[in-house]
């Protein structure tokens, strides 16, 4: 019985078996295609990472380019990170004061602010700010170089583009992230203290002494240095997305967007793993 005759006889309005089969097939095809793309992406990232590692450890080293990237990435992000850190400090200060007052634990305010900023908010916020600012910048820059054959020109000049372009940027991100995190933490603590002082006077000396009382290096150093892993993620994903770009201006835009989205996502996922790692091994 044909589909049309079946509808006429039965008056059915639900999908018929042929339509259901086609729908299942197209869904399966879509899922299969996306699955393929997912594994291809990770495979490509793995191959890219291996090429970068090989290029990083074999001479000649691109020291001048590394220093240039340290300056560029650090200076690009510093104002934004400082501003964001300051805002976070004020927000935590206001929220902590309100919450602690409800439980009669106002004396815990300095420690709450210090631990919140240094262990949690400072690192993750720095990672997300940098993944947006630097990730997009690196992704767009390398994508633009790719579509205009500049990367091919570098390779044709007998210069390893993985060493000159990718390794330097990734290393710069790894080295700069912890430093930017320290800046964000410092700004957050300063503005947090200031916001508290406006409501209830508290000397800075007293704030620092209370906040860091009983603290050890293990409480603060691992959360700060875990941002080096964020730097690795941001640099690697942004360089990978940029250097595999195709498709002209549209490809450049896509590379910049994907760099930000994927780097931010992986930074958050990495944070989950790293926090557990730190709790197990350092605290």
């Amino acid at each position: 019985m044909s589909a049309q005759k079946a509808i006429a006889v039965t008056g059915a309005t639900t999908p018929l078996p042929e339509q259901q089969n086609r729908s299942v097939e197209s869904t399966a095809g879509f899922v299969g295609k996306k699955g393929n793309e997912f594994f291809e992406w990770f495979g490509g990232l793995g191959i890219f990472s291996w090429k970068v590692i090989k290029a990083t450890v074999t001479p000649p080293y691109e020291w001048r380019e590394l220093i240039r990237q340290l300056d560029e990435i650090g200076s690009m992000s510093l104002p934004l990170v400082a501003l964001a850190g300051s805002a976070i400090g004020v927000v935590i200060s206001m929220e902590a004061r309100y919450s602690l007052s409800r439980f009669g634990a106002k004396s815990m305010f300095p420690a709450t602010l210090v631990y919140s900023v240094i262990q949690v908010m400072g690192p993750i916020m720095t990672g997300l700010i940098v993944s947006g600012r630097v990730g997009a910048g690196i992704g767009a820059e390398l994508a633009s170089m790719k579509v205009t054959e500049q990367i091919d020109a570098i390779e044709a000049s007998a210069i390893n583009p993985y060493r000159l372009l990718a390794a330097t940027r990734i290393l710069a991100c790894i080295l700069v992230l912890p430093l930017l995190t320290l800046v964000a933490d410092a700004c957050g603590l300063l503005t947090g203290w200031f916001a508290q002082t406006l409501v209830e006077p508290l000397s800075f000396h007293q704030f620092i002494e209370s906040g860091f009382q009983g603290a050890t290096f293990n409480a603060f150093l691992p959360p700060t240095f875990k941002t080096a892993v964020y730097g690795l993620i941001i640099g690697l994903i942004a360089c990978f997305q940029g250097m595999r770009t195709r498709g002209g201006a549209e490809g450049v835009g896509r590379a910049a967007t994907n760099s930000v989205v994927l780097a931010s996502l992986f930074v958050i996922l990495a944070d989950v793993v790293l926090v557990k790692f730190i709790l197990v091994f350092f605290q």
Binding site: K51, T58, P60, S144, M145, T148, E149, Q150, D152, A153, I154, E155, A156, S157, A158, I159, N160, Y162
Partner: protein, 262 residues
């Protein structure tokens, strides 16, 4: 009838050296998906020779150059550069071979964050670290003077015209004194006067430097001017090779149509 290239060589008193080809491509095949761009191409170029590779757009001419310089790997076949098979060679091993080659990209591919002088100095900074800064600057000045760009050191690529970008690209390609020069559509997108100037420049450089050159172009007039040997590609195959007179005498329909339309 002698071409402009042959006349230039005779003026110089050059003798064509016969021996092992500097660049030899044998049975080269390359496909992108189902699209076969090269189907068993075989070509060779000696020192002091210039081979022009002609054909319609999309017939694999640029892919051939990219395979020779190692930016693409062939599916099969061999690419011999100065006697060494480089087909599919790893990036680091290709480095030494690439130092003896210069490549002019179709759109010059200048580094847009560097000035004209910095673009030309780029290969020298990486491969001639024995040169002092003054020596490097002097070499850059000489190269830019050779291509007629001596007054534009500090300009950015976006500040200069397409023809000027090609000149700077050519200066950069010559920075390491290559023995092999690959030119991808050197006159593409240029007006007839600028095209003629680029042709004259290439001819002058060939006369002085005696490089083995491969020029990919669809400009028959340019090919006649700067080369002494031509190869016409169609559908990934070499339809005909030889001097321009051989193409003129050919009765192959594609060759006759190509000459008629050029």
């Amino acid at each position: 009838m002698a071409t402009a290239y042959d006349n230039a060589m005779m003026q110089k008193g050059c003798q064509k050296e016969v021996g092992v080809p500097v660049v030899a491509v044998k049975e080269l095949c390359k496909a992108f998906g189902v699209h076969h761009v090269l189907n068993g191409i075989s070509l060779s170029v000696d020192r002091g020779e210039t081979l022009a590779v002609l054909g319609r757009s999309g017939t694999g001419k640029s892919v051939l150059l990219r395979i020779i310089i190692g930016l693409e790997a062939p599916d099969s076949g061999s690419v011999c550069i100065q006697g060494r098979n480089t087909a599919g060679m790893a990036l680091d091993r290709m480095g030494e071979i690439r130092k003896s080659m210069g490549f002019l990209f179709q759109h010059a591919a200048l580094y847009d964050s560097l000035t004209v002088a910095e673009n030309v100095a780029f290969p020298l900074e990486h491969h001639r670290r024995d040169m002092s800064r003054e020596e490097r600057d002097e070499r850059v000045r000489q190269l830019l003077a050779e291509v007629g760009m001596e007054g534009d050191f500090g300009k950015m690529p976006s500040d200069i015209s397409g023809g000027m970008q090609k000149r700077v690209g050519l200066a950069r390609a010559l920075a390491l004194e290559p023995e092999i020069l690959l030119l991808d559509e050197p006159t593409a997108g240029l007006d007839p006067i600028s095209s003629g100037e680029i042709d004259d420049l290439i001819l002058k450089l060939q006369r002085e430097r005696q490089m083995a050159s491969i020029v990919v172009t669809h400009d028959l007039h340019s090919a006649k001017t700067i080369s002494n040997h031509l190869a016409l590609l169609d559908k990934g195959n070499v339809v005909i090779q030889g001097k321009f007179e051989d193409l003129q005498k050919s009765d192959i329909p594609f060759v006759m149509e190509f000459l008629k339309q050029s």
